[in-house]
């Protein structure tokens, strides 16, 4: 896949995630989601479970995120 295409796909998925984060918190609270082509194509309650689905997709076409409605305090 061309690099320009990789940037384009990533931008599409990331912008979709940002625009739909609040809706996802309602529908997929405490779940891992696999986003492809601006939609959720799989969800799971653990990372090991979502990885089973991840292996069926091109890593460059997907976004894997954990969604949680309850805020978490993060310190790095």
């Amino acid at each position: 896949m061309e690099k320009a295409e990789l940037f384009k796909i990533s931008r599409r998925n990331t912008e979709w995630l940002k625009d739909n984060y609040e809706t996802l918190k309602t529908k997929y609270d405490r779940c891992w989601v696999l986003i492809r082509d601006r939609k959720v194509v799989a969800s799971a309650s653990s990372f090991d479970e979502i990885m089973i689905d991840v292996k069926n997709h091109d890593p460059n076409e997907i976004l894997v995120e954990y969604i949680q409605s309850e805020p978490v305090a993060m310190f790095f």
């Binding site: 940037f7 796909i9 940002k18 990372f47 890593p59 460059n60 894997v64 790095f76």
Partner: protein, 149 residues
Amino acid sequence: MVQTLKFTGLIINRQPKISILFECKAFKICKMVDFLVDTGTTYSAITQKEAAIMAIDYSMLPYFKREAVGFGGLFRNRVINKLVTLTFESKEGNYKIKCGSFLVICIPPNIRREEREKMIRFTPNVLGMDILRRFRTCVDKNQVELILR
């Protein structure tokens, strides 16, 4: 007139994130990775989660020689000891940074299954000061900008 390159990321769930093309020819990897822009981090790193998605067997990687300290405690991270190229995209053009090696944040072995899951959930890929020092970093409510000095 000197042209400045400006790379833009988004604020997602109150975190400034930027998408960068991560390439490691030795491992045949060419993948977009979302990094948290973190001026408090010394070394940039990808997570165990990201390595798993890239099909990197991180257990085969050597340990990073320095101990890593965070609010979660002390870690022994691993290192991709091969050339990694990061490509930043902007409307004006792309910018590449070559890294002689790259860290992988590893969750400590022998921890409880639930703790491991939580750490994978909330540990982000981080773009630290080893990379950010090249840019002027601006974060606002909706986006993050890295401006090439």
